[in-house]
Amino acid sequence: MGSYIPSTAQERQKMLSAMGMSSTDELYASVPESVRLKELNIPSGCTELEVREKITGMAGKNKVFSSIFRGAGAYNHYIPSIVKTITSKEEFVTAYTPYQAEISQGVLQSIFEYQTEMCQLTGMDVANASVYDGAVAAAEAVFMCQERKKQGVIVSGTVDPKVLAVIKTYCASRSVEVKVLPVSDYATDMEALKAALDKTSACVYVQSPNYYGVIEDMDAVVAASHEAGAKVIMGVNPIALGLLKTPGEYGVDIAVGEGQPLGLPLAYGGPYLGFVTTTNAMVRKLPGRIVGETVDAKGKRCYVLTLQAREQHIRREKASSNICSNEALCAMTAAVYLAAMGPKGIRKAAESSAAHAHYLASELCKIPGFQLVTDKPFFHEFVTTTPIPARILEEDLAAEGILCGLPIEEGILWCCTELCTRKKIDELIRVIKAVCQEVA
């Protein structure tokens, strides 16, 4: 059996004796006898070598695809080697939340740098130190906009359904109504938005590029919403912002998103990184930790957790969010990733992802039965029809080590990143053609 307890049996006995005790049972005298557990019904412990074999065996039962054309909220981008090296440093990995600024300047400064980078990327003024994931970021942002007289929440029907589900969960428990707008040709129905807005509308949440990959008309969304006095929350893909117009440029109030594409592995869904950026005007509505710059007693520049009176450990039942632990190491990962990529690298990743997606779309559409479902502009995801059942295609592609686009109600949702090279796309097309022929 494994154990990480340094003290030997003799040392433990010594400690007990020093306290005038003879057995560790005495330590648990306050636990009622009737509920004392005799023995845990779990397997005996094992050595490091044994556990390595067990866990490695489980890892081996997962299929690692060599080509991934699936996104839908989790994106397979290249992770520079230095990212993992830096974020594996034991000091960062094993530190607690940096409440003690004097011995936490490293973590604090890294969060400050992360906040700055996220603001640069989104064009917003301020960022928090992270929340759990992109969906929770959207839900938390909705509650940043709640005012006494304005509580209505409007969500475009084109957002990621998982994000919508989380927003609904968060709103249902606080009895906040969520209006979901109909979809018009794979984009937000602007007429429906205008009709839904009134003076009780607190906020409008629109994702762009949306779930179907379509770049939304954010100018129109912002104009309509602001005219009605509602705030705009924009869900973004951080890689896309290397190229596309920023939430700041559109003039939204809050930009949120899933930070996973910024150097975090797919990892079967987590840990990921929810980021929230906003305007100076809304800084005190931000949930979670925030790092600020200040000076120490001698005037030296330093960093601290600040604006803490917003948070649950001080405000308790009056806090607008309960978040405590966040995704700090994931935020550091994103910070290192962005620093490694630099302005040119992030643009290249965005351009390459978009270019490959457009190449794939044009190649796919040459196969009878595959058609883009809309001619609206898209970034690195798009939906096509399929002439054969998506599940069959998925299975046949899997046999070739290729993860197919995601089968959805409307067809197949495809995604390309810079890792989907021309060679991989050509191979995908070749296999699809073969499958089509076979089925036909």
């Binding site: 006494r148 009176a309 405000r315 009056k318």
Partner: protein, 127 residues
């Protein structure tokens, strides 16, 4: 402790009040600011909001704490001291010069103390 101005009235939750041109002006006492420590932010109500006697209408943040500010009167907020939103430290510096809100259409007033009674009240609190 700084002297307690004689012309003001006081609450047990350490707000001061004075009547001025038909409006009730509300601020925090020196005792309150001393207990709160360095004030870093004030969450203010908005003009037109209703306030209720004995209920919180604002909260005051220090670095590691937050405290409610209670309204001594019921009425409608006529004016908010915007300056405090940018410079909350002013409350620490001159509590009796800095009002938080002015209230109009006052319908109800909490039982208030005069300066002497409040001074005695504070002396007991400190023990």
């Amino acid at each position: 402790m700084a002297s307690v101005p004689a012309e003001l009235k006081y609450t047990k939750s350490h707000e001061w009040v004075k009547e001025e041109d038909g409006l009730y002006v509300v601020g925090l006492t020196d005792f309150a600011q001393e207990a709160l420590g360095d004030i870093v932010f004030i969450n203010m109500p908005e003009e037109g909001d209703d306030v209720v006697s004995g209920e919180s209408f604002a909260d005051v943040e220090s670095v590691k704490a937050v405290s409610d500010v209670f309204s001594p009167v019921s009425g409608t907020v006529a004016e908010v001291n915007e300056e405090l939103i940018d410079e909350p430290a002013l409350i620490n510096q001159e509590p009796y010069e800095q009002w938080l809100i002015k209230v109009k259409d006052v319908s109800d007033t909490e039982e208030l103390m005069d300066a002497a009674a409040y001074e005695e009240f504070c002396a007991n609190e400190e023990e």
